[in-house]
Amino acid sequence: MKIAVLTKAIPSYESSIRVDSSGSWIDESVVNFVVNESDSYALEEALQIKEQLNDDSEVVVVIMGNENNTSKVLKDGLAKGADRGIFINNENIDTDPLSIAKLFSEHLKEESFDLIFSGLQSDDLGSGQTGVLIGELLGMSTATLGIETKMEDGKIKVKRELESGWFQWVTLPFPASISIQSGINEPRYPSLKGIMGAKRKDVKSVSASSSGDNKQKFIELFIPKTEKVTERIEGDVDSIVARMLDILKNTLKVI
């Protein structure tokens, strides 16, 4: 079984997110890039499948972006146990999911993966489309929001999360592209041995052909305006708590 895991380097939760001078992207110089949360669950799921199969299966971490932002995330994936990496060097800021999926597909096609795992959405652009788009472009079966997987009779069974606490099992033939919901497993930490070993693992570097085909474009990034009148309460703990008590007792009358 050949499994690709699509990972993305995104700004950490704690990073300060500011619009840059172009007005259409963020100032990356003040941002700490980390792995997208649901992608780390996707990687763990792939590693567990490989361990269960216990054959010559291979897990390949695939990442796109510029080297600065992505190298740490790629190394981390290898340190956790991926067998090798594919780095798609892309200096452009692509924001159209279909263009992004085409860039990936170009380099994934020749590898003929049996399975492609991806996180259900990236916490930066949040389109939630890449895994499904690539599945369609490469003629694979697709499923989204996987919360459990099982290998069965040469197929993969995926428990899909639906809305409001409903679920559904879907069985897919290979090749399949499946997006993984966070919480599906417990992502491992890299071991010291893994970290040392990662340095010797093969990383194929390729360049993204410039797509020039972005059919949707960001024309402006902005800070959302709040519609509500918000009362800011800050200061020392005693005065904050006194004001909260006053609101709960006298304004809202809930205590």
Binding site: L133, E136, T230, L245, L248, L252
Partner: protein, 321 residues
């Protein structure tokens, strides 16, 4: 043409689809394009009956044995045929889990853009510009498209079903889709719910909800004590459930429950979109977070900027007095 596709949710038109119809009605007026509403696949004839009041030019039914139950394979193929044939300028749906599952495949099949999870529409002359949240709702972006046909999905509550224009449709028609059993590669089983918990957060008047700011399971009793002192139900954002600190039925958000209590007191929740869609209907939102840029403050009535580890125990103590 503007084409709105209705989704079946256990026998009824999905609430997000109703909002998409409202978006479609407004887009249709603004751009001077006819509005068509498509009832596709699962339960389609019942959806057509339920939609018969909606003001539209055309109400279209597309049924086939192969799509009597939803599959990404079947729906993406069927909708691609319909879109190719009718050439609508915009195809609108709600940003539901089903839409995330199959609409990108239509985008790839037809090589047309899909702008997902839209929160607002504005106009530059005759061209609509779509706003989306990015970077975990810390920023928003305006998106412009260049394509003869564009797929759109709308975040819940971007449009209100209260604004639905009624008056029915002028024409009703059937669209015959061409599908074969071999088009469906996947095998879908029946939808099911995990064991019910007996806790119904949707009817709770007071909710204290905890997020990743609690840092460790050991700190959870701080928030539990506050909830108990207030007589509130405890709830959480997704990360807390993912860590196993609280059971899944306590989760608020797109994958959990949607609530609208009298007071929603959020503790250490940053306010990612997936969480906010489940609680933004609350009458009053009070949020404690130490990051003054936390997106939760955008929708809060009371923004408490401070350390929850200090504030929560002190508040609990005062309430208990």
């Amino acid at each position: 043409m503007i084409l709105v596709v209705l989704e079946n949710q256990r026998g009824n038109i999905h609430a997000f689809s109703q909002e998409a119809v409202v978006a479609g009605q407004q887009l249709s007026e603004k751009l001077g394009l006819d509005l068509s509403i498509l009832c596709l696949g699962e339960n389609a004839s019942s959806l057509r009956d339920q939609a018969s009041d909606y003001k539209a030019k055309n109400l279209i039914l597309a049924q086939h044995d192969i799509i009597n139950t939803y599959s990404a394979d079947g729906y993406s193929k069927a909708l691609s045929q319909i879109v190719s044939e009718l050439s609508p300028k915009y195809v609108l749906m709600g940003h539901s889990y089903m839409v995330r599952d199959f609409l990108p495949r239509v985008s790839a099949k037809l090589d047309i853009p899909f702008v997902s999870d839209i929160i607002a529409v504005e106009y530059d002359g005759d061209s609509p510009i779509f706003s989306r949240q990015v970077f975990n709702a810390k920023l928003a972006t305006k998106v412009k498209t260049t394509s003869d046909t564009v797929l759109l999905s709308f975040q819940s509550a971007a449009f209100s079903s209260d604004d639905m224009q009624i008056g029915g449709s002028e024409n009703q028609s059937d669209f015959s889709v061409n599908l074969e059993a071999s088009d469906i590669k996947s095998d879908s089983e029946a939808e099911f719910q995990e064991s019910a918990s007996g806790v119904d957060l949707t009817t709770a008047e007071l909710i204290v909800s905890v997020g990743r700011g609690i840092e460790s399971q050991d700190n959870l009793p701080l928030v539990e004590s506050l909830a108990s002192a207030m007589g509130a139900e405890i709830a959480s954002s997704r990360p807390v459930v993912d860590m196993g600190w609280l059971p899944p039925y306590r989760q608020i958000g797109s994958s959990g429950q949607a609530v609208s209590p009298k007071l929603y007191l959020s503790v250490g929740i940053s306010g990612a979109i997936q969480h906010v869609v489940g609680m933004k209907g609350s009458k009053t939102i009070m949020a404690i977070n130490k990051d003054e840029d936390a997106p939760i403050f955008e929708i809060a009535d009371y923004a408490i900027i401070g350390d929850l580890m200090e504030i929560v125990p002190k508040l609990t103590e005062e309430i208990q007095k």
